[in-house]
């Protein structure tokens, strides 16, 4: 017997499949870590040190986090942001629901290919300058699901990652240490590059 299956919204399904396939094909290799902060050549010759210091001081002490948490590392982030570990000490207690208000994305959790276009879109909507922290094994490499048919093997396939925090899940102390590393990185950024 043959059953005729008519999709209810065929054009939406086809569009979604096309977006995912396109992203998947374009993401065969990891995106290298942004490294412009390592380049000291221009910095030695053009002096914008005071402006840089001021800007970077402001940026690194009020990192606002985008709430795009996909899986279980979220709970470590929740305990980090609540009173015991108190992320407010670092000026980060404001969690933004809109990506346009945020400058830091913490990728807490496993990402599937079906979710990947949405995460990429949220990242694209964030205003420059923006940073990404890959939190946990799944965020770094896909973790135990790296060989799965539906899981993105690491957020660095679709986003440039600034800091990697290992752990499954990382302790809140590890997350805070990772944020400190990101702050050290921001302090080295210069106006002359992007």
């Amino acid at each position: 017997m043959d059953i005729n299956i008519e999709p209810v919204y065929p054009e939406i399904d086809a569009h979604e499949a096309g977006v995912i396939d396109e992203l998947k094909n374009a993401s065969a290799h990891p995106i290298p870590e942004p490294a412009e902060w390592l380049d000291e050549e221009i910095k030695r010759n053009v002096l914008v040190t005071t402006v840089d210091n001021l800007l970077n001081w402001g940026r690194r002490n009020s990192l606002w986090t985008e709430t795009s948490f996909t899986a279980c590392c979220t709970f470590e982030f929740i305990s980090t942001s609540s009173s015991r570990f108190d992320i407010a000490r670092f000026g980060m207690e404001v969690l933004r629901s809109s990506p346009r208000h945020a400058d830091l994305m913490i990728t807490a959790g496993t990402l599937t290919w079906k979710m990947a276009p949405q995460i990429k879109r949220v990242y694209d909507q964030m205003a420059e300058p923006k940073w990404v922290i890959a939190m946990g094994s799944c965020g770094i490499s896909g973790g135990i699901f790296a060989d799965s048919y539906s899981v993105v093997p690491g957020y660095n396939r679709i986003l440039p990652i600034d800091v990697y925090i290992p752990g499954c899940p990382p302790r809140p102390e590890a997350l805070l240490a990772g944020i400190e590393k990101l702050k050290q990185k921001i302090a080295k950024k210069t106006l002359l590059k992007k």
Partner: protein, 149 residues
């Protein structure tokens, strides 16, 4: 505690209403032919003394010879339960009647089985993939699925 539905109850019920049904019992589990599934479930849902009005779970198993669908029924009226299995011997194009017209809760679970096992449910109102995207190659919980990532 929830009791198992007694065999006599089911056997008597089927003798009266659908005498031609091919069925057997294996360790308290009722096994039935695919083409008799819908009429049997209609009967079990309404027959007095049985009234299995709650379909708790639908799942599937991939065996070398056939696909097996597993249905777990409960009765909120009489506090008893029944496990029902249906075997689809056609490994290349397995299909079974949909229970969604009878039990609304079967809708998403049948879509999940279609997505991951590729078993078609006849007369399902909206049978399409639920977890994976439309262009995904194959059905990943089948034993012969090869991950082509």
């Amino acid at each position: 505690m929830t009791k198992l539905l007694s065999h006599e109850n089911i056997i008597n019920c089927m003798k009266e209403r659908i005498p031609s049904a091919g069925y057997s019992f294996e360790n308290d589990i009722l096994i039935i032919e695919p083409d008799k599934l819908l009429s049997l479930c209609k009967l079990l849902k309404t027959a007095p003394g049985i009234e299995l009005d709650y379909l708790s779970c639908v799942t599937a198993v991939d065996y070398p010879e056939y696909f097996e669908l597993v249905y777990l029924f409960y009765s909120t009226e009489h506090n008893h339960k029944l496990t029902l299995k249906v075997r689809c011997p056609d490994k290349t194009r397995p299909s079974a009647p949909s229970l969604t017209p009878l039990y609304k809760g079967a809708d998403f679970q049948e879509r999940e089985i279609w997505d991951l096992f590729g078993i078609r449910f006849e007369n399902h109102p909206k049978l399409k993939r639920i977890f994976l995207w439309e262009s995904f190659p194959g059905h990943p919980l089948r034993k012969d699925f090869v991950n082509g990532r």
